[in-house]
């Protein structure tokens, strides 16, 4: 094996690739030989480090120095200064508000990483996802190898997973071991193992990052699942919108097949298991397990009533288990380190860690993995670095369109499945969107309802019609046309939706409304009674106004106005907006250099 004195890790997740990390690699490939150090320094293309907002990210080992927002043009300096002369390029090392001094730069120390515990993401950003040997060097395929060479009893493995306390990371939180046990105990010649990588929650990208950064962990876990329940075929259902993830997964499957880690007679045993990829086609409801299976069968993604549960009758009417990407990523390490190790982390009823995609109005946008029981406050203010621009925190939204908002008063809630449900939200797959004082909660509720109206499959009436009615009522509120009766109606429809829908999509579609009504009722009342939107987000309740004393009479706003509703005399009279003609596009406010235009 070749030894290198330094390793340069370049993040090639979707976020960083979008900001040209592939060009950074090209630059390194060109400049290392020019400096005659290509035999001393190895460039590794890795998955996501997590701190996506500061990408593209480059980390240089052995020091572990992290460079942020690296431009392909900066590569020459990193090579000549750091790699040749051993001097860190200070200017690229976190000019970041979250870390107080540049001394705290090493990736283990900065606030963003300090509170995290990377288990599901253990290999993301550490190995090259396109090299199976690197995964193997990190104990990859050790769990599978041990199981097959020792001919371990499947029920014993399932028991270990049950004892670890692992619950489904896709949102529902069903104990994974139990799911496997049900399927294992059903007698049938044909069974299937499926992986849900149809990450449809807007604002969530955990599964994508795992598939991009550590695809082999999912392949290994699915193979183990196949052995446990007695299946010989698996399907990964992945979003077509994730081209990099699909390509890395395909590549990993090919490598695993070449190494004999999937396919016929794995590790020389009599166990055979094959994997296939099925691409999703952009339907949120296909994240629901029965709908997902219909979609793999080539049908419309309509959910079917349960029971029968998929463990009894799932894909092609055969016993099937379906787990989410993050759940699978936990399996190999649980089996190598033991159930007790995993169960020692987390809270009483939620063990291990959870990955969240932290986004929205927060300083450190990115992927974070925390032990269960970490509080919302720790995530937002310590790991997330707080709200940018000195704005006030308002709420955190978890669980996407099925979840709810956690207000400031519940910031100290320790995160686990049950606490989040008690707070009126849910774990969901792990999107966590931070909202500040400028976010209107009624508008956000309507945003989610617009989403569910679009994504409701239309099969059951409460969901098909209920989401639409709720959307209409919310629109009425936002436009200032609603009365208090409408508010009451909104709550009533929300509850019928919750009680009457066939699948989780409809049952949870009301959550964004119910939770905002619970925690931010005053904002609804303001919209309905005072006809005001305090955040100036709702157009129907907002007017643009030019403060005459501040107007420099330059006329720029009038020039920019697309409907010519601003009048005044250049250099002489302050400009005035004709509110009756104004379409509230905000172009004037953007154009004004003197901040003389306000929303009120």
């Amino acid at each position: 094996m070749e030894l290198y004195r330094a390793h340069v890790l370049v993040c090639c997740g979707t976020g960083c690739t979008s900001s040209n990390s592939d060009q950074i690699i090209t630059q390194f490939d060109k400049l290392l030989p020019e400096n005659n150090i290509e035999k001393e320094v190895k460039v590794v293309k890795t998955g996501c480090f997590g701190l996506c907002a500061e990408g593209p990210i480059v980390v240089v080992y052995p020091e572990g120095v992290m460079y942020y927002r690296v431009d392909p043009k900066d590569v020459a300096e990193i090579v000549s200064e750091h790699l040749v002369k051993g001097r860190h390029v200070e200017r690229l090392m976190v000019p970041h508000p979250a870390s107080p001094s540049s001394e705290a730069n090493s990736s283990d120390e900065s606030n963003f990483f300090k509170k995290q515990l990377r288990i599901a993401l253990r290999n993301c950003g550490a190995i090259n996802p396109e090299e199976i040997d690197e995964y193997i060097a990190h104990d990859g395929y050790l769990a599978l190898g041990t199981i097959l060479s020792e001919k371990r009893d499947p029920l014993d493995i399932i028991d270990e997973i049950k004892r670890s306390g692992l619950r489904g990371r896709g949102g529902g939180g069903f104990p994974t071991g139990m799911k496997w046990e049900f399927a294992a105990k059903v007698e049938n010649d044909t069974k299937y193992v499926c992986c849900n990588a149809d990450e449809g929650d807007p604002g969530a990208f955990m599964d994508r990052s795992i598939l991009e950064g550590d695809p082999h962990s999912v392949i290994e876990a699915m193979t183990i699942a196949g052995y446990c329940i007695g299946a010989s075929q698996g399907y990964v259902y992945v979003r077509a919108e994730y081209p990099i993830a699909v390509q890395r997964l395909k590549h990993a499957m090919k490598q695993a097949k070449e190494y004999g880690l999937i396919g016929k007679n794995i590790f020389g045993s009599d166990f055979s298991f094959d994997l296939d990829i099925r691409l999703g086609a952009g339907a949120f409801v296909c994240g629901e397990e029965t709908a997902l299976m219909r979609s793999i069968e080539g049908k419309r993604g309509n959910p079917t009533p349960r029971p029968p549960f998929p463990a009894v009758r799932g894909l092609f009417n055969k016993p099937t288990i379906l787990n989410n990407v993050e759940t699978y990523a936990n399996i190999p390490i649980i089996l190598t380190k033991g159930a007790e190790w995993f169960a020692s982390m987390g809270t009483e009823r939620s063990k291990g860690t959870k990955v969240f995609a932290l986004g929205g109005k927060v300083q450190n946008v990115g992927l974070v993995e925390i032990p269960m029981g970490t509080t919302v406050r720790e995530i937002v203010f310590e790991i997330g670095g707080g709200i940018p621009g000195g704005k006030e925190f308002k709420a955190v939204q978890t669980g996407g369109p099925s979840g709810g908002c956690i207000p400031a008063s519940l910031l100290d809630t320790p995160i686990d499945y049950d606490n989040l449900v008690a707070a009126g939200s849910m774990m969901g797959s792990g999107g966590m969107i931070v909202m500040d004082e400028e976010t209107c909660m009624v508008d956000i509720a309507r945003f989610f309802l617009e989403f569910t109206v679009d994504e409701s499959c239309g099969k059951c009436t409460p969901c098909r019609i209920g989401t639409k009615r709720m959307y209409e009522l919310l629109t009425k509120i936002i436009e200032g046309q609603a009365t208090l009766d409408d508010l009451e109606a909104l709550e009533k429809v929300a509850l019928s939706l919750k009680n009457g829908s066939l699948c989780a999509l409809g049952q949870t579609a009301a959550n964004p409304v119910l939770s905002t009504l619970k925690h931010f009722r005053n904002e609804y009342i303001q919209h309905v009674v005072d006809k005001k939107c305090a955040c100036h987000v709702c157009k129907g309740l907002t007017e643009y106004y030019i403060i005459p004393e501040m107007c420099k009479k330059c006329g720029l706003c009038a020039k920019k106005c697309p409907v010519n509703c601003i009048s005044g005399v250049l250099g002489k009279e302050p400009y005035v907006i004709d509110a009756s003609q104004c379409i509230k596009c905000g172009a004037c406010m953007e154009a004004c250099k003197f901040k003389a235009i306000i929303k009120q």
Partner: protein
């Protein structure tokens, strides 16, 4: 073999195909799926859309015949999934991410600016078929919010003022 020529040229990819070439490519692609039934439908449609850029009725009929299922079945699936399009797309597709992270960072304003600038609404295509806009759900690049994709080019951390410049770049292209 029946001809399934569809009006207009394919606008997908760099090379423009004639209707005859598209039809030939479709035939080639579909040979793998002959008689496989419903379970191959999604994959077959995905390949067909790669070629045509969208799924007009004649293409759907061709897929139905190949798989030996009804056209209604095919249409049901096409109209169910948002990835499948019944309308042609422009040469440059402006995909505006309306995921939650982008939304709270002002994606709606970005979309409105693009709509104003191109004079079409989301889901539509300009008469010269040069541009189309679609509002998409999370592309998973939340760290760069708000984000748009123009074909494969990603533009992140956008403000509405940057939009006219971006559009101009593609108008000249």
């Amino acid at each position: 073999m029946l001809s399934y020529a569809v009006g207009g040229e394919s606008t997908v990819g760099k090379t423009k195909l004639t209707p005859e070439e598209m039809s030939k490519k479709l035939d080639e692609a579909l040979t793998h799926y002959e008689g496989q039934g419903q379970k191959a439908l999604m994959s077959a449609l995905q390949e067909a859309q790669e070629i045509y850029g969208y799924l007009p009725l004649p293409v759907q009929k061709r897929v139905a015949m190949t798989l030996n299922i009804s056209v209604a079945e095919v249409y049901g699936v096409v109209s169910f999934y948002s990835f499948f399009s019944l309308k042609p797309k422009g040469e440059y597709v402006f995909n505006v991410c309306l995921g939650t992270a982008c939304y709270v960072k002002g994606a709606q304003k970005i979309l409105e600016r693009i709509e104003d600038n191109l004079g079409i609404k989301a889901g539509d295509v300009t008469t010269d078929r040069k541009f189309s806009i679609s509002a998409c759900r999370c592309v998973g690049a939340c760290g760069l919010a708000p984000v748009i994709l123009v074909n494969d080019d990603v533009y992140g951390r956008l403000t509405p003022e940057e939009i006219p410049g971006i559009i101009a770049k593609y108008k000249e292209a």
